[in-house]
C-alpha cells in the first residue's frame, strides 16, 4: 500500500442482457487493466450458471481482481435463503465464499446474518449518500418511482452500527463489514439537489448535462476535489462503479452519443488518475483491510471541505462526521450549521417489507436546512436596535486543526460595521472526541463598544425532526431550562409556549422515544430560552444570550452543544 493513502476503487458490473453488455464489460476490464488498475467485479447469481462468465472471471481473479457477489434482495426473512443460494452458487463457481458483496437494499439484520454465517465477508456496497427526496421527486424515466431513501449517511466507507446500517457504529457495536457508497458524490450538489446527477459515474454526469462532448472538465475537478481532502484527513477515497449496460447503444438516459461514454471513461485513467503517481487502486476488501489496520474497528473523524466546482461561485460547505454525529457548516451563511444527524442516539431502523420503516432508511436529522428551511444553528449580534445576523454574511474556512482528541474548524473573521462600532467576529468550532458529543462554539469578538452600549450575542438553535421534507409530530419531546431554583419544562404540544430564565445553565431538548438529549450550554450562566412551535411551525427553539461591554480583545463567547444518549 502506498503511503499517500489516496485510494481509488473501481467496480465493474457485467450486464449481459443489454446489447453488447458482455463485450462492454470486457472493454471496461481491459481499459482498467491497460492503465494498471485492478477492479472489483460485482456479479449476480444468475450469471454464475454461465460457464463463459465464470471462466473469464476466474481469469480476472488470477490477475488480481476481486469477484464480489451482487445481491439485489429485499430485507425480510426470505432474504436469508436468497443470500444462502447466492453464496452457494458463488462457492460452486469459484471454490470459496466472496470477500465482498454489493447489496444496497439490505440493512443491518441481513448484514449481521451474512457476517455471522459467512465471516469471510469484510466489505459491501450498501448506501448512496443523500439519496432520497430529490431523486424521488425528479426521477421519472424508468417508469417507476425511485424509492431509495438513505439520506443522512457518511460519504465515505464506514463500519455500520449493528442496529442501523446507515449509521456509523461505535467500537464494540458495529458490523465488521465495511459499508461502501455506491458512488462518491458532489458534496454541495448532492445536498442541494439530486445526488445521482453529480456523482463519479459518467452516465450520471451526462444525464445532468454537467459534462458533454465539448466540455468534460467537471470530471477532472470532481476527482481533484476528492484528492484535496488529503489535506484534512489521513486518507482520501474515491469510488467508480460502472455497470456495463450504460455503454450500450440501446435506450439511454442522456442525449450525447453513446460512443462518448467510452472516451470519457478512458479519460478517467489516462488523464485524471494518471496525474497522481501515489494513487492506490484497491478492491473493496483490500480497502476494508487497510481501514481496519489503520483505525481498528473505529470510525475516525472525517472532514470534507467542498468548493462549488460547477459554477465556481465561491460557495463552500464544510462537512464533519464521526460515530457520534454528522454536521454541515455553510461558510456562505456565516458558518451556520445546516445539517445535524445525531449518530450517538444510534436509532435502530432498517428497510424492508417486514420493517415498520418500510422504504425509509434515512437517518433522522435534528437540523436539515432544506427539508426544513428554518432549521439551523445561527448566531445574532445586537447593539441597541441594530441587529446583525452572521447567517447573512459570507466567510471562508481558514483552517482545520486535528489532534487525537479533537477536530477544530476556524472560519475567517466577519466584520460588522455597526453605526457606533466596528466589530470583528470569528467563529471557531471544536469537536472534543473524548466526550459523548461535544461541539464547542467560540465566537471570538474584537472591537470597542461605545460607552453605555451593550453587545448582545445570541446563539439560536432551531431544531426539528424527520427524515424527509414532510413534517413529523414533535409531540412528547421535552424542552427544558436548567440552572434556576427549579427546572422549567415544556412538554411539546403545539401550544407555541415560551419560557425564559435569566441565570440559566442550559437549554435542552429531550427525545424520550429515542432516549437521547441535546443541550445548549453557555460557558457561564446567562439568559436562556426555550420555544415550542404551533401547528404551522413544527420546530423547537433553544437559545442563550450573553451581554458584553467596553473594549473587546479576543473576547471568546463560548457555547457548547452536547448530544447525550442513555438515561435522561
Amino acid at each position: 500500500m502506498k503511503d499517500k493513502n489516496l485510494f481509488v476503487s473501481i467496480v465493474h458490473v457485467p450486464e449481459i442482457h443489454h446489447e453488447n453488455g458482455w463485450e462492454n464489460f470486457l472493454w471496461l476490464q481491459n481499459c482498467a487493466r491497460q492503465y494498471g488498475a485492478k477492479a472489483t467485479i460485482g456479479v449476480k447469481k444468475e450469471l454464475l450458471s454461465e460457464s463463459f462468465v465464470v471462466e473469464q472471471l476466474l481469469d480476472y481473479r488470477k490477475q488480481g481482481d476481486e469477484i464480489a457477489l451482487l445481491l439485489n434482495i429485499e430485507q425480510n426473512e426470505e432474504g436469508k435463503s436468497t443470500i444462502d443460494n447466492g453464496f452457494a452458487a458463488y462457492k460452486k463457481a469459484f471454490g470459496e465464499y466472496p470477500a465482498s458483496v454489493l447489496s444496497s437494499r439490505q440493512d443491518a439484520p441481513l448484514w449481521k446474518y451474512i457476517k455471522e454465517k459467512y465471516p469471510e465477508v469484510t466489505a459491501g456496497i450498501g448506501f448512496a449518500f443523500e439519496e432520497g427526496d430529490h431523486v424521488y421527486h425528479g426521477h421519472q424515466i424508468f417508469n417507476r418511482e425511485w424509492m431509495d431513501f438513505c439520506e443522512g449517511t457518511p460519504w465515505w466507507p464506514f463500519w455500520p452500527s449493528a442496529q442501523n446500517k446507515q449509521c456509523p457504529g461505535a467500537p464494540g457495536n458495529n458490523i465488521e463489514i465495511m459499508n461502501f457508497p455506491w458512488l462518491v458524490r458532489d458534496m454541495i450538489m448532492s445536498f442541494l439537489g439530486r445526488d445521482d446527477f453529480y456523482s463519479s459515474e459518467i452516465g450520471d454526469l451526462l444525464r445532468s448535462k454537467v459534462i458533454d462532448e465539448k466540455d468534460d472538465s467537471y470530471l477532472k475537478r470532481f476527482f481533484e476535489a476528492y484528492a484535496k481532502q488529503l489535506k484534512y484527513n489521513p486518507y482520501s477515497f474515491y469510488l467508480v462503479l460502472q455497470e456495463s449496460g450504460w455503454l450500450s447503444p440501446g435506450p439511454k438516459v442522456f442525449e450525447e452519443p453513446h460512443e462518448l461514454y467510452k472516451v470519457l471513461y478512458e479519460k478517467y485513467f489516462s488523464e485524471i488518475f494518471s496525474q497522481y503517481p501515489n494513487l492506490s487502486y484497491v478492491t473493496l476488501s483490500e480497502y476494508s483491510d487497510w481501514h481496519k489496520k489503520a483505525f481498528n474497528m473505529e470510525n475516525p473523524p472525517t472532514v470534507c471541505v467542498w468548493e462549488d466546482i460547477i459554477y465556481d461561485s465561491g460557495k463552500q460547505y464544510v462537512w464533519y462526521q464521526d460515530d457520534k454525529a454528522r454536521l454541515l457548516f455553510d461558510a456562505d451563511q456565516g458558518a451556520s450549521i445546516l445539517d445535524l444527524r445525531p449518530y450517538i442516539a444510534n436509532i435502530a431502523k432498517y428497510r424492508g417489507s417486514d420493517s415498520k420503516d418500510l422504504w425509509d432508511g434515512s437517518y433522522p436529522f435534528l437540523i436539515q436546512s432544506f427539508h426544513r428551511c428554518n432549521s439551523g444553528h445561527k448566531c445574532e449580534l445586537r447593539i441597541g436596535k441594530e441587529l446583525y445576523r452572521l447567517a447573512e454574511q459570507e466567510c471562508r474556512l481558514e483552517n482545520v486543526l486535528r489532534t487525537e482528541e479533537s477536530v477544530e474548524f476556524i472560519f475567517e473573521p466577519i466584520l460588522w460595521k455597526a453605526p457606533n462600532a466596528e466589530l470583528s467576529v470569528q467563529t471557531h468550532y471544536k469537536i472534543d472526541r473524548r466526550k459523548d458529543f461535544r461541539l464547542e462554539i467560540n465566537r471570538i469578538i474584537k472591537g470597542t463598544l461605545p460607552q453605555n452600549e451593550t453587545l448582545r450575542v445570541k446563539e439560536h438553535f432551531t431544531g426539528c425532526w424527520g427524515t424527509d421534507s414532510h413534517p413529523v409530530s414533535l409531540k412528547g419531546i421535552m424542552l427544558s431550562l436548567k440552572g434556576g431554583e427549579t427546572d422549567e419544562n415544556i412538554e411539546y404540544a403545539y401550544k407555541a409556549r415560551t419560557n425564559e430564565m435569566s441565570g440559566a445553565s442550559s437549554a435542552e431538548v429531550i427525545f424520550p422515544e429515542y432516549n437521547f438529549k441535546l443541550s445548549l450550554v453557555p460557558e457561564e450562566k446567562c439568559s436562556c430560552f426555550i420555544k415550542e412551535g404551533d401547528i404551522n411551525h413544527n420546530f423547537y427553539e433553544l437559545g442563550c444570550e450573553r451581554e458584553l461591554h467596553g473594549k473587546l480583545v479576543n473576547e471568546a463567547v463560548k457555547t457548547i452543544i452536547f448530544l447525550q444518549p442513555g438515561k435522561l
Binding site: 454541495i188 442541494l192 462549488d308 460547477i310 459554477y311 461561485s313 465561491g314 460557495k315 456562505d332 451563511q333 432544506f370 428551511c373 428554518n374 439551523g376 445561527k378 441587529l387 445576523r389 447567517a391 447573512e392 459570507e394
Partner: protein, 64 residues
Amino acid sequence: MENINPSKRNYRCPWCLKREGEVWLLPGKNGLYRCIRCCFRGTIADIFAGYEALKPHRSLKTGK
C-alpha cells in the same frame, strides 16, 4: 424566511425560482447578489435576465 433582514429583501433567486423555490438573494462581494441556498451569483441584470427566461410566453416558441 424570517432569517433575512427585511431591509435586504430585494430579489428572489432566478435559479431557485426555476425550480419553483422562492429564496431571497443577499448582497455579496464585488457587487454581486448571492443566493443563500444554491450557487447563483449575479448582477441585477443577470437576475432580471433569469426572470425573463422564466416567463412562459417568451421561453416557449409554439409557432402559433
